[in-house]
């Protein structure tokens, strides 16, 4: 089964870095300069070191006050609305985001502008603009991601399907009409295991909800290979069995639908609320693939698929993360204790 661990290039990495929700910490390494005149440091697509200024308008936001910099949102606003050099700078930043993900092995570039504005019209305009811009920067197909079907529609309408089909992220029982949109735009589609009236509470409900969506998609004429199922990944910090709920659902869906369907998920959700998130995310990617997944919505620059699958599975870090994700570490106690002692770093050796 596992043609991915040995060939990470087969992993369908839906790169999540062009999201307006992405945050850098003001006290972190990527922000330089004095209070009030800070810049975001980045490496451009050509490898040179560059800076994106944090505009004054951003400094009156609560995010900034509390030490957070929404760098993608800043770059998008500069690129879309800025004049001259400012627009060029924002565009260059976005180009770097696309380029680095492509080099790291991304299969799709997922684009989400939900936090660009609260107004649907502005979200739609931003999505349309960004889909066009990203298509000019990269050969990779775009995954149009929003919690609002209208914003997804705007993105798909702007997409030029010359080289590759787009992805629609996502459809679910609460918005099954997104399936028709996928068909109309010849898009592949992420279907989630969300229910009509709430999030699924265990493995069985995930499989049942996802199955209804898969069956509906097939009935409408989509192929198994067009469908990427997200069984929904919940934080292990909240309940020790949340990892298993997702992994077991992946196992059951793979057994039920065979080898053609794609199984994915937002892998970094699993580590919300605990420290040292990277090794936990990477370990969960490995466990999900072992259970039958062939892709994930991930940050491929932080950990590329080839780095993830080369992880030393004998290391203490991997073993503690695995135990925690498989429900064997109540309250994440052993994992957090080891993290505090600095023992997790051993697991990051690649």
């Amino acid at each position: 089964m596992d043609l991915i661990s040995s060939h990470p290039g087969n992993y369908i990495a839906i790169g999540e870095n062009i999201h307006t929700t992405r945050v850098l910490l003001r006290k972190g390494k990527r922000i330089a300069g004095e209070d009030g005149a800070e810049v975001i440091l980045y490496q451009a697509a050509d490898g040179s070191a560059r800076q994106l200024p944090i505009p004054d308008s951003y400094k009156s936001t609560q995010d900034y006050d509390e030490g957070r910099v929404k760098h993608v949102k800043i770059a998008l606003a500069a690129a879309m609305r800025g004049a001259g050099a400012e627009a060029e700078n924002g565009l260059d930043y976005l180009r770097a985001l696309a380029h680095h993900q492509e080099r790291a092995g991304a299969t799709f570039l997922d684009i989400n502008v939900d936090e660009f504005s609260l107004k649907t019209d502005e979200q739609k305009a931003a999505m349309q603009w960004l889909v066009g811009a990203v298509q000019n920067m990269s050969e990779l197909p775009v995954s149009v991601d929003s919690s609002d079907v209208e914003v997804i529609r705007a993105g798909l309408e702007a997409y030029q399907s010359v080289n590759a089909r787009p992805m629609l992220n996502s459809a679910s029982l609460e918005r099954p009409d997104a399936l028709d949109l996928a068909l109309a735009h010849n898009a592949e589609v992420v279907v989630t295991a969300a229910g009509e009236k709430g999030m699924p509470s265990g493995t069985a409900e995930r499989v049942a909800n996802a199955s209804r969506m898969i069956d509906a998609a097939l009935e409408k004429g989509l192929q198994l290979g067009d469908i990427h199922v997200d069984p929904l990944v919940f934080p292990i910090s909240v309940d020790k069995d949340f990892g298993l709920h997702c992994l077991d659902a992946i196992r059951e869906l793979r057994a039920k639908y065979g080898s053609e369907i794609h199984l994915t998920g937002g892998m970094s959700n699993v580590s919300f609320g605990i420290p040292g998130r990277r090794i936990v995310n990477d370990t969960f990617v490995i466990l999900a693939v072992a259970a039958g997944a062939d892709g994930g919505i991930i940050d491929p620059v932080l950990s590329s698929p080839s780095e993830i699958f080369a992880m030393d599975r004998e290391s203490l870090g991997y073993r503690l993360a695995e135990d925690m994700l498989l429900g064997k570490d109540e309250h994440c106690k052993k994992y957090i204790r080891a993290w505090r002692k600095g023992e997790m770093k051993a697991g990051a050796a690649r």
């Binding site: 929700t21 936001t61 609560q62 995010d63 509390e66 939900d114 936090e115 609260l118 649907t120 979200q123 929003s146 919690s147 609002d148 914003v151 609460e174 969300a194 229910g195 009236k197 709430g198 999030m199 919940f234 934080p235 910090s237 909240v238 919300f272 609320g273 605990i274 420290p275 309250h331 994440c332 106690k333 957090i336």
Partner: protein
């Protein structure tokens, strides 16, 4: 002025020394723990460590020894939770650890609650909690509910995808003092404002203090929509609810 050495429990002394940084918080906690009796310090220490079995045992024992239920709640459980809140705010502890502390709190409150209600002591306040219409996310809201219940609040959980009418009906049915609304999506956050407008139209807005939270929500949005408060995480939700309960009385 009390000194750190006036605190009997070594673990508590260590916690204050190691984890507290703001001078006013150090002074306040030294004053507090120096005043309270060692048995209560032991309960607070067990709670800070997230040991629900120990908190259960120590609370039962304290009650058998005739210590007042209110004293156990204030000087043991709530005093311990105060330290937990500071450590979480400073990112010195993490969500699973806070949840363990909340369970420990609950273990103690299981004894305390019935005694308080028998003797006519009301819960701190009654809180209605719901995720707004169109939004199915409830992990954050459920964390808030656990922490509120652990801190002596009575909570009615309205679940996810809560319509304006469901909020209005709940206000009329439960006579709660506080209404908490959650939204995780930028696309559903506007439904908080719409709900508040609907409460005004139904003439029940002034029956409750309204608090809001969720990933995209900020103080600014909370002010704009006319909420009474904003909490950025489960622990600020508790301190906010306490503040709003005070204002309501």
């Amino acid at each position: 002025m009390a000194e750190l050495s006036d605190i009997a429990n070594e673990f508590i002394r260590q916690e204050i020394k190691e984890f507290l940084e703001r001078p006013e918080e150090i002074a306040r906690n030294i004053e507090l723990f120096a005043r309270i009796r060692p048995a209560m310090q032991d309960i607070a220490a067990a709670l800070i460590e997230g040991e629900d079995g120990d908190v259960d045992q120590l609370t039962k024992q304290a009650l058998e020894e005739g210590i007042d239920a209110l004293e156990i709640m204030d000087d043991g459980l709530i005093a311990g939770m105060g330290i937990v809140g500071i450590k979480f705010r400073e990112a010195l502890i993490f969500v699973p650890e806070v949840l363990a502390c909340a369970r420990a709190m609950k273990a103690g409150m299981n004894y305390i609650e019935p005694i308080l209600s028998d003797s006519g002591v009301e819960p701190v306040a009654k809180v209605l909690m719901g995720t707004v219409k169109g939004d199915l996310h409830d992990i954050g809201k459920n964390l808030c509910i656990m922490m509120l219940r652990g801190s002596g609040f009575e909570v009615v959980d309205l679940g996810v995808d809560t319509s304006e009418d469901e909020f209005i009906d709940a206000i009329e049915e439960h006579r709660a003092g506080i209404l908490g609304m959650s939204a995780l999506l930028t696309t559903t956050m506007p439904n908080m404002a719409k709900t508040i407008e609907a409460l005004i139209d139904a003439d029940v807005r002034d029956d409750v203090m309204i608090m809001v939270g969720g990933a995209p929500v900020t103080q600014e949005f909370a002010d704009d929509m006319g909420a009474d408060g904003y909490g950025k995480d489960a622990l600020s939700c508790v301190s906010l609810a306490k503040k709003l309960a005070g204002e309501k009385v």
